[in-house]
């Protein structure tokens, strides 16, 4: 027979085990990674038999990320027999709202979107909720309405890692760094900038300029001015694809030895790294094709009755001159690299 003390210890251990297992149990109840969203063969067959229609709204189609995201979604939807309605808001929140409402009006089976402004899509999400249409969003949860999940690239970690590589490369205390970004009202953009600020701070550097714009032309002008105004500038962190291109060009034109880290690794960035004569130290690559596939899988899983976790993070790739060939195959599966031509 167990003593009182033993029973107390055994009971305590059981309670502790139960409490410690709770997060695991909760985690198991939802699908929380892109891999976990993958449909089994039987599930895929079930989805094909249902003849579903999903809406796929992008905030723009002018950058490589969006194009790759859409291509990934379209390819996977095609494989699953899902009819995919793709619309591009061209950076206009009002247009996106109209597109969203039209999809609700059509009674689609699910909507995936990269919001122009997550704070401004909530009213439409509420209307989708009223019609029981699941909404899966990239970037950040809306202020109103319920979404099945928010998918995000590892924005903070990705930009932190790329910036840390830049600071390592520079290797100087108090190194002057400029940020070239995008004036987007999205959490992911703020996370990227925070990642840069933290990595620069951790390495003892200083941010001397923060500029942003939507167009590469204007970004080139901004970068040129920043370089001109700061003779001791050591590095530029560009927090989106067109800013990477603009920073690269501005530094080339200046003829100065200024290192670059970037968020988004796209064809121009890969070609820069392939050239072997670039100031780019590291690029943080989002896995857009993976996200496009996960968007379709996620909505399909919800249709089949699964629950997605509140947030699904897809990891970024740290692309450098040493590993760019390998990273290309992961980031753009099945796509011939441009240097192969």
């Amino acid at each position: 027979m167990l003593s009182v003390k033993s029973r107390f210890l055994a009971g305590t251990a059981a309670v502790l085990a139960l409490v410690s297992a709770m997060p695991v149990l909760a985690q198991d109840a939802c699908l929380g990674t892109a891999e976990a969203l993958h449909l089994s063969d039987a599930q895929a067959e079930d989805i094909r038999a249902r003849g579903l229609t999903f809406g796929f709204l992008t905030n723009n189609i002018s950058d490589d990320f969006s194009r790759t995201l859409v291509a990934g979604g379209e390819a996977h939807a095609g494989a699953l027999g899902v009819d995919l309605i793709v619309n591009n808001a061209d950076f206009d929140a009002n247009t996106q709202l109209s597109q969203f409402d039209a999809l609700v009006q059509r009674g689609v089976d699910g909507i995936f979107l990269t919001a122009v402004d997550a704070g401004s899509i909530g009213q439409a999400v509420r209307r989708a909720n009223q019609d029981n249409i699941p909404v899966f969003i990239v970037g950040g949860a809306p202020a109103r309405g319920d979404v099945v999940s928010v998918m995000n690239a590892a924005s903070y970690q990705g930009s932190y890692d790329a910036t840390a590589a830049l600071m390592d490369h520079i290797g100087e205390p108090n190194a002057q760094i400029a940020i070239l970004g995008i004036p987007f009202a999205l959490q992911t953009i703020r996370d990227r900038e925070k990642g840069v600020l933290d990595a620069v701070g951790a390495a003892g550097g200083q941010i001397i300029s923060l500029q942003s714009d939507f167009s590469q032309d204007r970004l080139l002008e901004l970068a040129t001015n920043v370089i001109q105004a700061n003779p001791d500038l050591k590095g530029v962190v560009a927090t989106w694809s067109l800013a990477v291109n603009a920073a690269t060009e501005a530094i080339r034109q200046s003829g100065r030895d200024i290192a670059i880290a970037g968020y988004d690794s796209e064809v121009p960035g890969y070609m820069e790294l392939h050239s072997g004569e670039t100031n780019i130290v590291a690029l943080s690559g989002q896995q857009a094709a993976l996200q496009g596939r996960a968007a379709i899988d996620g909505l399909a899983q919800v249709v089949l009755g699964a629950t997605l976790c509140e947030e699904i993070i897809t990891p970024n790739l740290l692309v450098t001159a040493e590993n760019y060939v390998e990273m290309w195959d992961i980031q753009y599966p099945g796509v011939t690299p441009p240097w192969a031509d």
């Binding site: 619309n87 009006q105 202020a143 004036p183 009202a185």
Partner: protein
């Protein structure tokens, strides 16, 4: 030119004038007919209500733009000012100001901005193109600065319901607001001395001045009216988005100008009609809605809208000699 050639030219111009006058109505009927045939989701009450509420912002701004263009002026700042006023509205409400007072303050701010555009244009003898271009840049910058580029959520449900979801006599409130503004603008232009003077002023400013039309006062008044309509549009836009968004309506200015042109207005002044502008705005709204329902690529949407605008301008120029 021979008499026969002159007669032929006159007939061509009259035909172009007729086509131009019919364009917004005929195009709207054709487009509605096509979408009703092509999409099972288009012709129903719910979509119609959504279409009306979604296009109310455009229609209000287009009414104001009709009067501005009637004077031979232009206002390029409207989209940016709608965004700025919507974030001011949202921030006022976030700061605890009740929605009626916030709406009133935004209305006054809109009239102030419109008045400023008018005063600088008229008293400074500066082309409105330049004045409003400057105002557009200022309003865009201010909207981003005051919000830190982050949209401001509106949590006062009464405001959101009233300006977006509520109904009056079975129709959405935004539709009543549009009808009210349409009626007021129509009455002002067609049933008041001041309205008639705007047509004279737009057709020939010097002659109007010599006839005793108070040119400066009339022009500034029109910009103030434009500002008031922009402010109401900002309230509807904020209610629709559920937030004040700094970059929310980049296409609004061009769509409003397009609606006026499709309505047969002369960009150089003297000729513009609120009723036809309403048709022009409705056409743009139906195109926006229907093309999404049919899953038409947004780039193709731009091309289609651009072709309709070009057609309207060509007809207007061809018909110019008919008057």
């Amino acid at each position: 030119m021979t008499t026969v050639a002159a007669l032929r030219m006159a007939r061509t111009r009259r035909a172009a004038a007729l086509l131009r006058d019919l364009l917004p109505y005929a195009a709207l009927v054709l487009v509605v007919g096509y979408f009703a045939f092509a999409s099972e989701f288009f012709l129903n009450t719910r979509n119609f209500e959504r279409l009306v509420t979604d296009s109310a912002t455009l229609m209000l701004v287009a009414f104001g733009m009709t009067m501005v263009i009637l004077l031979g002026e232009i206002d390029l700042s409207v989209g940016a000012v709608v965004a700025l006023l919507s974030v001011i509205l949202a921030q006022l409400m976030a700061a605890g100001v009740g929605w009626p007072l916030a709406v009133l303050l935004v209305l006054l701010a809109g009239m102030g901005i419109g008045g400023l555009n008018g005063v600088i244009t008229v008293l400074g003898d500066i082309p409105s193109f330049i004045t409003t271009l400057g105002m557009m840049a200022i309003a865009t910058g201010l909207a981003f600065v005051v919000t830190g580029s982050v949209s401001v959520a509106i949590m006062q449900d009464r405001f959101l319901d009233l300006f977006y979801d509520d109904r009056l006599l079975g129709l959405p409130v935004p539709l009543w607001i549009v009808l009210g503004a349409f009626g007021a603008c129509g009455l002002y232009l067609n049933r008041t001395v001041a309205g008639h003077e705007l047509f004279a002023l737009g057709a020939n400013q010097k002659a109007a001045a010599l006839s005793g039309v108070p040119v400066k006062r009339r022009k500034i008044t029109v910009f103030v009216i434009m500002g008031a309509l922009v402010a109401i549009a900002a309230c509807l836009s904020a209610a629709r988005l559920g937030s004040g968004a700094p970059g929310s309506v980049p296409a609004l200015t061009l769509d409003a100008i397009a609606a006026v042109i499709i309505g047969g207005a002369n960009l150089f002044g003297g000729r513009a009609f609120v009723s036809r502008t309403l048709m022009g705005a409705a056409l743009i709204a139906v195109l926006n809605n229907g093309m999404v329902l049919l899953n038409v690529n947004i780039d193709a949407q731009y091309i289609i809208k651009g072709l309709i605008i070009l057609l309207a301008v060509v007809l207007e120029r061809l018909a110019a000699g008919a008057r």
